[in-house]
């Protein structure tokens, strides 16, 4: 499922992904796959959506939740 709905809100899938990211330090798509067993292409797509929405940031292939992402989780 997409992480961001058509009206720009976090979907349940998006919320779950952000919660998981919040619980760890910077993590790569491949590391997420090694834990969850999901298809890599779906994880990459989800991270791209969250990054475009400003909820995660990426540095050298590792992703962390932003302040905006933390705020979205609290809404």
């Amino acid at each position: 499922m997409p992480c961001i709905s058509a009206d720009g809100k976090l979907t349940s899938d998006g919320r779950m992904r952000l919660e998981r990211l919040k619980a760890v330090k910077a993590v790569s798509a491949e590391e997420i796959v090694s834990v969850t067993g999901e298809p890599l292409f779906k994880v990459r797509r989800s991270l791209r959506e969250l990054k475009t929405a400003g909820y995660v940031e990426e540095s050298e292939g590792k992703y962390t939740v932003t302040e905006q992402g933390l705020k979205a989780l609290n809404e």
Binding site: M1, P2, E30, P39, L40, F41, K42, R44, R45, R48, E49
Partner: protein
Amino acid sequence: MDETAKVTLPRLGGKAPDFEAVTTQGTFKLEDFKGTWLILFSHPADFTPVCTTEFIAFAEIYEELKKRNVALLGLSVDSVPSHIAWVRNVEEKMGVEIPFPVIADLNKEIAMRYGMIHPDQSKTETVRCVFIIDPEGIVRAMLYYPLTTGRNMSEILRVIDALQTTDKNKVATPANWKPGDPVIVPPPTTQEAAKERLEQGYECKDWYLCKKKL
């Protein structure tokens, strides 16, 4: 369809044409599949009989493909609502869940890039194409089938196995090869190597045609 739009045909050994696609499971880019094998296949139209049998057949090999690190991605020029309605119909009437995303290529942009429209078959629908793309984004095999003829899943799996065996072992695979069969040793490229080949313990018909068991 814009007749002046550029039609390209992917080539074996070349980079798979880039795309960003709206699918039944969200938007994907080709780069999302880097690091995995990808089967991108097209079908002419939703709610048609041969296509439905093919979707069921692809669903039946989905787990086998996953074991081989292969993602599956369908495409037709139908819309997302049409795709959703069709896969729901297949699940309801035939009891088969369709687990892979299906691209809605309404403007035929991806279809044109991949040479999926063959006007003598249909000016509006894609023919039955299969592109096997490796983890580096290189097109490794292509199948083009007519509207009338459903594809064979055993052959698609066999080609995946053959390509992965080739990559892992630096060998080729002979006609009708299946996993477990002897593979072809790359032929000698110098006269000296050809002279030595028959003494290297392979199963040879001649210096240029030798097999070995993996």
